[in-house]
């Protein structure tokens, strides 16, 4: 994968490998036996996203859940992999949804998903539109902008300042929704790497058994998370 100029997540990569080393080497030795480290995001071969789309997703999620400050960011938790996997699967294809016409994409948003496009198609068609808008407005495609300008551009997208086509209207909503899903879903879906997001907020994941703790009112639950496939953090 080519080196992306100005990609703010490079700092994220470094942090990710440092965090990974900490997990593998010190925090939970059991972890290393369980799972080999996955391929670095820079080496990852997307299943359905084209290089320009992947570059956008990498850059966008790095701003939606940035690496700076406390807690992991979307890059360390491998959210882009989650998004690629989801878009390549049933969700991306809207496999469960009723997609027959006639469609009224311009209907009030209160009336739900009304675009004829699937989530994958929304990404595919909205990314070039948004990149073009970034170029015209800020001089470069989104992934090449600096972090502060990226934040500005995402805010414009969220507020729909560019008046995006109605059939692409849900783009920001699903991009943000999918980013948070990737951050918090079980790691088997590609994101929430090392259960870092769960550890950060204090969610015990797939423990699912708290009978003895119900009446320990206002006492913080002591155990960290487990995942569905048996990882421990």
């Amino acid at each position: 994968m080519r080196d992306l100029p100005g990609l703010p997540s490079r700092r994220g990569f470094l942090k990710a490998s440092a965090a990974t080393a900490a997990i593998a080497g010190i925090a939970v030795p059991a972890k290393a036996e369980q799972k080999p480290e996955p391929v670095a995001l820079t080496e990852y071969k997307p299943i359905c996203l084209k290089p320009s789309e992947w570059a956008f997703v990498m850059a966008a999620v790095a701003r939606l859940i940035p690496s700076e400050g406390e807690g992991p960011g979307a890059i360390e938790t491998r959210v882009p992999v989650f998004i690629d996997m989801q878009l390549a699967g049933d969700y991306g294809r809207a496999a469960d949804w009723y997609m027959e016409g006639p469609h009224d994409a311009a209907a009030s948003p209160l009336r739900g998903w009304q675009t004829p496009l699937t989530p994958l198609e929304v990404y595919q068609q909205a990314i070039p539109v948004f990149d073009e808008w970034c170029k015209v407005t800020h001089g470069k495609i989104f992934a090449e902008l600096d972090a502060a300008t990226q934040d500005k551009a995402l805010t414009s997208l969220q507020k729909d300042e560019m008046k995006i086509r109605p059939d692409l209207r849900e783009f920001f909503t699903i991009l943000l929704g999918n980013t948070k899903e990737g951050y918090f879903a079980d790691p088997m879906y590609g994101g929430n790497h090392g259960m870092q997001a769960w550890t950060y907020i204090g969610f015990p994941g797939a423990r699912g058994s708290y009978r003895e703790w119900v009446l320990k009112h206002n006492v913080k639950y002591p155990l960290g998370p487990v995942s569905i496939s048996g990882e421990r953090a």
């Binding site: 701003r63 939606l64 859940i65 940035p66 700076e68 400050g69 406390e70 807690g71 049933d90 809207a94 496999a95 469960d96 949804w97 009723y98 997609m99 027959e100 006639p102 009224d104 209907a107 009030s108 948003p109 209160l110 009336r111 739900g112 998903w113 009304q114 934040d151 969220q158 943000l176 980013t179 948070k180 899903e181 918090f184 879903a185 079980d186 879906y189 997001a197 769960w198 950060y200 907020i201 204090g202 969610f203 015990p204 797939a206 423990r207 699912g208 058994s209 708290y210 009978r211 703790w213 119900v214 009446l215 320990k216 009112h217 206002n218 006492v219 913080k220 639950y221 487990v226 569905i228």
Partner: protein, 588 residues
Amino acid sequence: MARTEKKKNVVLVGFGWTGAILGMELANEGLEILALERGHDQATVPDFQYPNMIDELKYGVRLGMMQKPRNGTLTIRRDQNETALPYRSLGTFLPGIGVGGAGTHWNGLNWRPMQSEYHLRSYTEEKFGNIIPEDMTIQDYPMSYAELEPHFDRFEYVAGISGQAGNVNGKIVEGGNPFEAPRSRDYPMPPMHSTWDGKKFGDAAKAMGYHPFPSPGGIASKDYVNEYNMQMGPCNHCGFCERFGCYNYSKSSPQTAIIDALKRKKNFEYRTHADVLRVELAPDGKTATGVTYYDEKAQEEVFQPADIVILTAFSLHNVHLMLLSGIGKPYDPNTNEGVVGRNYSYQLTGGYTLFFKDENFNPFIGTGANGMCIDDFGMDNIDFAKEGFIGGAYWRSGQTNGQPIRSMGLPAGTPSWGAGWKKAIGEWYGHSMNIGAHGSLMSYRGNYLDLDPTYKDPRGRAMMRMTFNWQPNDLKMIQFMKSKMEPLVKSMNPDIAQDGFKKDGAMFDVRPYQTTHNTGGAVTGDDPKTSAINRYLQAWDQHNVFVMGASAFPQNTQYNPTGMVGGLAYWAAEHIRKDYLPNPRPLV
């Protein structure tokens, strides 16, 4: 050419709560019973097993246990001037699919309506005079609470409900709900313990002179064995209850309470992937001859003859099948005539989120029916004339889950992304609680169900069309609840409190989940001009067709519907067994 199967005495359309109840009751009569279920087969093992079941993304977010709109959905509009659009991806309500229906993944909150609710129109008129708005079509149930009581009791003892009685045969019991309709005996299991949020709410409510009691729920607080020898084990408070199947045999579900025993009966059979397309009527239209279903495995239509057809397909699907089959006259809101589709209703809820930065709620410790309730603002306790609305609500505080994708309460004004969001989730996760008001919803001329003129389902049938919007009466009710809840919230002294109550003029939004408490459309009544089924849930025009489910409610209760759905199912089953089978005829 449709294949024809061997005739059965009874065919049940749908195999959820009501299908399981009717199946067992009628199988015990020795009849040959067939349940047709359009979804897949599913059972605790292997389908709900730990840990695969407790997967927020798959079941909580992507709705793995729900009906897929691709295979069947409906269209929705807010009023008659709007063009209805398909409900393409699920949001506001989540119809179930597969053996057990929505009963596998419900919360388990189990109630009996309050006493005024069974005769709401006459109660309102007698007590408050002529205050019912012209377009409000509420009406009385054709049976009384006293008639239904043994059947509520039966459902609670079969399903396995934990709770604290508040009124046993008129005697008020300390710690229970003093406003509940009198019950003949206690719940089958003691109440569940509440987490910290419910405790705080209960204490605050008590200090204000209200009457807190533990939420009654289909969640086992101890070991339990029901009349069919079906066992429940105590709940783990796993926090993956609503939207999930229970891995622990602790949630009341058709599987846990009935189906495993029913499957052992030789005269009972069920077929899955069998999507009932319509009820077939005899040439004179006076009886049903059976049903036609689509066999997805054989990819063909099948005619299934039967002596009795019982719709147990969930309220919305019951009404759709009636509209498609010509059972009852479709409702026309312009003339206010016709009965099928009439009095569709829903549920109106609201609530507060309270943030306490120094307290630990451990939100992932929860059950579908956790916490403490009050009923001080229930219907029986409200002066409709003085307050200017008809309705009421019960309040509850009790966390059901701490699943972080869906259940991340953050103070208003928190950025929805970026560094500010990330900081806030670290600061606030686990430090907030909710208090909810679960309110009634009246029925109106303008809220109804009919067939859509444009959209078709995959089998080429017209989709059902829902015309529904919030109405001023009910919005006033929920604003009233807000005004009463605000002082209670203040008394709890949270760092931050924020409300989520709909305001006057609110439009129905199909995106956020609200409830799967869709009611009405085939209501029970004494008058064939204003009801689709009689007091025994029997179709007025086809005496061998019975229609179960919340579609029978003349208006929605302030409570979750399933206690009433179960009670009505046992009531109808008794009359089918005792009155109908010996002499099949219109029972009214």
